[in-house]
């Protein structure tokens, strides 16, 4: 079957035996998975399960104590854990994006929306004001922010708009892998839906791969192709999202799924 033949490609991200300890406590341990281009991986678990530690290790914000995070860079697969910080930061502003739960952590609140979106472009060498501004306006449009807000500061935006601005700021350089930490966390339910739809569309159109950490099972069901369930720093179950949610194998996953309040 031709689709499968096409899928025998290089994983975008290969994680092997990744572990991080805080003294004697386990942050995350023995985590391994492959993420292929265009795939969205959800990571769920309760607070303290190690999902945020894992995301930080993957994104290079935390140095793991053991293991490999091999990213398929333009020069071929490289272990980002061993990489020099300069090279890792270059990846972080070209091939990667990181969407924070709180947009204030991911935005420059004192800089206009256009400046926020343009920063990554300028960081990779864009030096034409007109082009940078045009790209910023285009991206504001793609995240449904009116062009006439381009010179407004994010502090004048609603929470949902701030989050969309953060997404535009991250995606403007056409990254291949997006890390998202509870992207719909602090938002109203109605705003969440709009953001989810936006993210789905962007992932599809740009062929993005994404790793989404959340405790909201409804969010992963709608966004993630695959799901990893963490408990106490370990991955206790992983598989196809709907399979893990509808036919959970591990005791903890069964508990997690059965604990969701029904509306």
């Amino acid at each position: 079957m031709s689709i499968l033949a096409k899928m025998k490609m290089q994983p975008l991200l290969s994680v092997r035996d990744l572990s991080k300890f805080y003294g004697g406590r386990i942050g995350c341990a023995d985590v391994g998975f492959d993420l292929y281009p265009g795939e969205v991986l959800g990571i769920v678990g309760e607070s303290g399960s190690g999902k945020s530690t894992l995301l930080s290790c993957l994104a290079g914000h935390l140095a793991p104590d053991r293991g490999e995070v091999i990213f398929d860079t333009k020069e071929g697969p490289r272990d980002t854990v061993q990489m020099a910080e300069a090279a890792r930061r270059r990846l972080a502003r070209t091939d990667w994006a990181y969407v924070h739960q709180n947009p204030r952590d991911g935005l420059r609140m004192g800089v206009s929306a256009g400046g926020n979106v343009g920063e990554r472009l300028m960081a990779v060498g864009a030096r034409h004001y007109g082009d940078i501004r045009a790209a910023a306006v285009d991206w504001l449009g793609r995240v449904e922010i009116a062009a006439d807000r381009v010179d407004d500061r994010p502090s004048a935006f609603s929470g949902g708009m701030q989050q969309r601005l953060q997404i535009a700021r991250n995606l403007v350089t056409g990254p291949r892998l997006v890390f998202m930490d509870e992207p719909t966390g602090g938002l109203d339910v109605s705003v969440q839906a709009r953001l989810l739809d936006l993210l789905r569309g962007l992932v599809r159109e740009m062929g993005l791969s994404a790793i989404i950490v959340t405790h909201d099972l409804a969010v992963v069901r709608l966004l993630a192709d695959r799901l990893m369930v963490m408990k106490g720093g370990y991955v206790v179950e992983q598989g196809l999202t709907d399979q893990v949610l509808d036919d959970p194998q591990h005791a903890y996953t069964q508990l997690l799924v059965s604990s969701v309040l029904q509306v």
């Binding site: 990554r120 300028m122 990779v124």
Partner: protein, 294 residues
């Protein structure tokens, strides 16, 4: 026994001067890089040039001829008091003539007269970190310098254009040194920026409160940051000096009465005076005999 009632040469003790010289040498070796140093308490408040004074003290030798300017002028309070300070503590000769000086301490200007090899220009720097207003964390700005992560610098210029239609930064205009470090040239007008690069003199920058020293060795490249479609332009008041008629010097605008009359004069007093001495006379600079007060 040494004389315990006199100052040590140039006020600072020898150990301190050695420490500062080491920082200066490191700064010269890595143009544009901010070298931390243990700034001392000086007998003047922060903001009055404590960084520049310490660098000057570490550079001076008894044979030096010192010139001190404040915004281009030799005769303002800050310039006069620092000049007097070194006269008293180092006993060096002083001068107002740019060409005669071996060490020039400056606040916010580069002299109009081109500097030559062998001269040292010492800048007083209030805030040495060009990224500071955009990124408050020192750990982060140091990391950004280390990794040449300078996108933020252009964000500042972008904000300028989006708000004012042009790059409105008129002083303290950042430069990139030898394609590596982005550097704050101290609050000199951007008119002076072209003189930073390729200068024959050694340029040293001292920030006392912030405890940083950095340097541009002679003939170092320093390029003012800009956009392709908004190129850097060194600007000045569109006028000639009313005293010496110089068309190309940096001008101060002086209000002369309550009716809004004004005149433009060279900010560099030595430059203006020597031009007038050479016979260049502007519209308001006519030499009049006798008292012309009131």
């Amino acid at each position: 026994m040494t004389d315990q009632t006199a100052y040590n040469f140039a006020y600072l003790d020898e150990q301190t001067k050695r420490m500062i010289r080491r920082a200066i040498l490191k700064g010269v070796a890595i143009p544009g890089y901010q070298v931390p140093f243990a700034s001392r308490e000086m007998p003047m408040p922060y903001g009055w040039g404590t960084g520049g004074v310490q660098v000057t003290a570490a550079c001076l030798v008894p044979e030096d001829r010192l010139k001190v300017i404040d915004q281009g002028a030799d005769d303002t309070t800050n310039a006069v008091s620092i000049r007097r300070f070194f006269q008293r503590t180092a006993g060096v000769e002083v001068t107002e003539a740019t060409a005669d000086a071996t060490v020039i301490q400056t606040r916010h200007r580069i002299p109009e007269t081109p500097l030559t090899e062998g001269q040292i220009l010492v800048y007083q720097v209030p805030i040495p970190e060009p990224l500071r207003f955009l990124e408050p964390r020192e750990t982060e700005t140091r990391k950004m310098h280390e990794l040449e992560d300078y996108g933020l610098m252009h964000v500042k210029l972008y904000e300028d254009i989006s708000r004012h239609g042009q790059i409105a930064t008129a002083y303290d205009y950042p430069v990139k040194v030898e394609g590596r470090y982005v550097m704050d040239p101290s609050p000199i007008p951007k008119f002076d920026n072209p003189k930073l690069g390729g200068n024959a003199a050694i340029q040293l920058f001292g920030a006392g409160r912030e405890q940083r020293i950095y340097a541009l060795p002679p003939y170092t490249q320093a390029i003012s940051l800009d956009f392709d479609d908004y190129p850097f332009a060194a600007s000045k008041a569109d006028h000639s000096c009313d005293l010496c008629a110089a068309p190309d010097s940096y001008l101060d605008e002086v209000i002369t009465d309550d009716q809004g009359s004004r005149m433009f004069v060279c900010s560099d007093t030595d430059f203006c005076a020597s031009r007038r001495a050479a016979g260049h006379i502007g519209p308001m600079g006519a030499p009049r005999a006798g008292a012309d007060v009131e």
